[in-house]
Symmetry: C2
Subunit: 141 residues, 2 copies
């Protein structure tokens, strides 16, 4: 089995989260009330990629968790010290080698260069890398 | 609303897909039989991050779709020309500005530097960026 690693790749944000949440400690779980409504603004040159996002759509938002520590390989899940140290790929920790966040959200509104979404738990200024419709996540291609 | 884009980020593959599928045209949909079993090898220095992945676990594998065209902003979904040209963020096309693939797979076997998975539809050599447990994809943090 070949363990050679291919090279590095550059991701360029397609947009930015605009949220009233600026403190990472406040971002996780908001109880049953969910996170506050949030805007995602898009780079103007991507209008053709954005235009079919519609209110009511459920989408997966891929973010770059820019505050994460990429050197962390194991964590206590949910910062609960009573839980054993666990390899990050078996956890949802934001701390991981490539801190890509995955968020399922409902689109509430769509305008020319942005969408309003419900339940996006990410701090203000978080870069957005991609958006995909939910559908099934099998048969990706 | 501030539409300023933050800078670029570098992703470094954590592993590589080893698959009998080498032709992208053969990778999508294998009918009801699913894709062939596939190995993901990991960089040895990430052993501590990998070690809690276990057979039977359902995980989300994030890949870098290295054959994708990042300049494409709209596509005919599933290459069906009878379907209207659609902005890529409303499709699952691999062609998109940041070609991150999302695959839900079952872990069949786990060894020191690799895991065997079922139903990973990606060509041989596809870089792997991240692995997360399935759980709920709400409450990401």
């Amino acid at each position: 089995m070949n363990t050679e690693m291919p090279g590095e790749f550059i991701v360029r944000p397609i947009g930015t989260v605009h949220s009233p949440i600026s403190d990472p400690a406040a971002a996780p779980r908001q109880g049953d009330e969910g996170a506050p409504d949030t805007w995602i603004s898009f780079a103007p040159e991507l209008a053709a990629a954005v235009r079919d996002l519609r209110p009511g759509d459920d989408v997966l938002v891929f973010t770059w968790l820019h505050l994460a520590d990429r050197e962390v390989l194991a964590v206590h899940p949910r910062d609960d010290l009573s839980r054993p140290l666990t390899g990050v790929f078996a956890t949802r920790s934001s701390h991981r080698p490539n801190p890509i966040g995955l968020h399922r959200v409902r689109i509430l509104g769509a305008e020319d260069h942005g969408i309003k979404v419900r339940d996006l738990e990410a701090v203000d200024g978080t870069p957005v890398l991609d958006i995909k419709p939910v559908l099934e996540i099998r048969n990706e291609r």
